[in-house]
Amino acid sequence: MICSNMNRRYFIFGLSGLASCARDSRPRLNVYNWSAYVAPETIPAFESEFGVRVRYATYESNEEMLAKVITGNSGWDIVVPTHSRIESMRAAGLLASLDHAALPNLANLDPRFRAPTWDPSLAFCVPYMWNGTGIVYNKSLHPAPTRWADLWSPALKGRLTMLDDPEDMLGACLKKIGRSFSETDPEQLHRAESEAIAQKPLLRAYLNAEVRDQLVAGDVLAAQLWSTTAQQAIDAAPQLAFTYPAEGFPFYCDCAVILRESRRVELAHKFLNYLLRPAVSAQIVQATRTATANGAALSLLPEETRNNPSLYPGPETFARGEWPHTVPTATQRLRDRIWTEIKSA
């Protein structure tokens, strides 16, 4: 039943009839976020506290989200791109600038995320959750892998997977030869390609989150994986462990932004400020097993979560991490070609 008072007259009046039969006149905020990135209570609690409705939907990749918001007329108010996309989204004029006066809870941010390289004054984004890419492995492996280079060991043949993601996969090869994740030099990129092609015969497959079950089942002994996904596997199978490779590795921070097309900027700020509450953030962390950029939330977390070395690496490990940024078009094109060459090798 769409509307209890719908009668023939409203039906004849068509659109005006439909408008008058809208169930709910509360303002509506449109939030488009990664899947499994809030706690079940997060959205309903916001709706009841602020007397609003939230249209909430999820995506699985930055590209899926970008394909919609690129039109500038997507109907979303808030999206959560990865940090490396912020700069180009800003350059494309997709982002609204933030009013810090409406975001007092920014003070709760972890100091490491108060002036990030991708948006030093937080003019456009609020760091939300972060994770890194490393190696998850079965503790029966001796010696345990500690470097990317260990994933080139013939002993792992057929029991090893790498991510089906050009940035991360090629990135690991670049780190192995001592280069940056955001390398643009064609010669170095081709060297990384040779590394990838040399490793391919050892690989079982290129898999993303779906490797989780095979790690738990013991089919796969070592895998390149994101720390959050790895932690979910470790929770299910204590024989697994996670390590951030010695050569360096990437961190990714997903950041909430308000789109310039938004017509509910004030409400959107209220939502961002709500997400920055320590209690809300802690609740989300507990539900999703990810790492929050909210420093004040940490004290509300159980000690074993707060000190979990894969979710919250210590200062030494943290310093080895790199925050990849978007590479120029020409490099992106070369990287995609290299990726296709690796896949068809």
């Binding site: 970008l66 690129i70 996309r85 494309a92 078009t329 094109r333 995609d336 296709t340 068809s344």
Partner: protein
């Protein structure tokens, strides 16, 4: 407007909105330049098509054709006897037809995932083989071309069975009897009488299987473990990680063009051979 025209209007509107318009958009995109975060930007250029003439992409295209052709041949091999059996059965014909179509009740994605659980090291097949003592180590059933072919044949088999069944059902049984009366053995009857007469169904089924197999991206991704790329994956990749919509559109257009040309040539040859 004549009455006939009015009745054709829904079909024409359907084709205009769901075929012609998207086709025009893809064509336009293929002639533009890549935007920084995806999407498209001016100026107009044919550069994406020029990039296609490259051994790397042509090899992928060729391999996709081979995979699709092998999958179609395997489908035909399995589908023909099944269709013949169904058309000859008397009491349970409808039940058998329902069974052929039964998989469509479940999403293709879910069914492909189910194969992952059957084929993996600790999956049903390997566990069974090992518990029977037939193997001592898991067979590598997943993440190779064989698994991709299996997935394609499994997914598109009904599209081969149904058209062949449709022609066999209309086959005049008197012709088969006549062959037998003239002394043909059953196998001879099948290959000299039934197969030639069911050619329209075989052709329709082969087209229905070959084209979706050629564009498949889900099956090579899930069952092939991303170790090989088919042209469908190449297109998908341009719209996702590579953020190169014009190139993705150009590959799609080229693929459509090649398939259409092949189809036209093939059907023309067919109609000549019938004359």
């Amino acid at each position: 407007m004549k009455l006939r025209e009015w009745f054709l209007l829904p079909a024409r509107a359907w084709m205009a909105v769901l075929f012609a318009a998207p086709f025009a958009i893809v064509l336009a995109y293929s002639l533009m330049t890549r935007g920084d975060i995806g999407g498209i930007a001016p100026p107009w250029t044919a550069e994406s098509y020029a990039r296609l003439i490259d051994p790397l992409y042509l090899t992928i295209l060729w391999r996709s054709f081979v995979m699709a052709a092998v999958a179609t041949a395997l489908c035909l091999l399995f589908a023909f006897p099944a269709a013949l059996f169904i058309s000859r059965s008397t009491s349970h014909r409808n039940l058998y037809l329902q069974l052929v179509m039964l998989p469509f009740w479940t999403s293709f994605l879910v069914r492909t995932y189910a194969w992952l659980f059957l084929l993996r090291d600790t999956g049903l097949i390997n566990t069974l083989l090992e518990s029977l003592g037939l193997t001592h180590a898991p067979l590598p059933l997943l993440y190779n071309d064989g698994a991709v072919l299996l997935g394609l044949v499994y997914g598109y088999l009904p599209f081969m069975v149904l058209p062949i069944y449709a022609t066999l059902e209309r086959l005049d049984p008197a012709l088969v009897e006549a062959a037998a009366d003239l002394g043909a053995r059953p196998m001879t009857t099948v290959f000299r009488v039934i197969v030639p007469l069911s050619k329209p169904g075989i052709v329709a089924g082969s087209i229905l299987v070959f084209i979706p197999c050629l564009g498949a991206y889900l099956t090579p991704d899930l069952l092939g473990g991303g170790r090989t790329v088919m042209v469908g994956n190449l297109v998908q990749n341009q719209f996702t990680t590579a953020r190169d919509w014009p190139f993705g559109s150009a590959i799609s257009m080229a693929l459509m063009l090649i398939v259409t040309l092949l189809l036209v040539l093939f059907l023309r040859k067919e109609s000549e051979s019938l004359v």
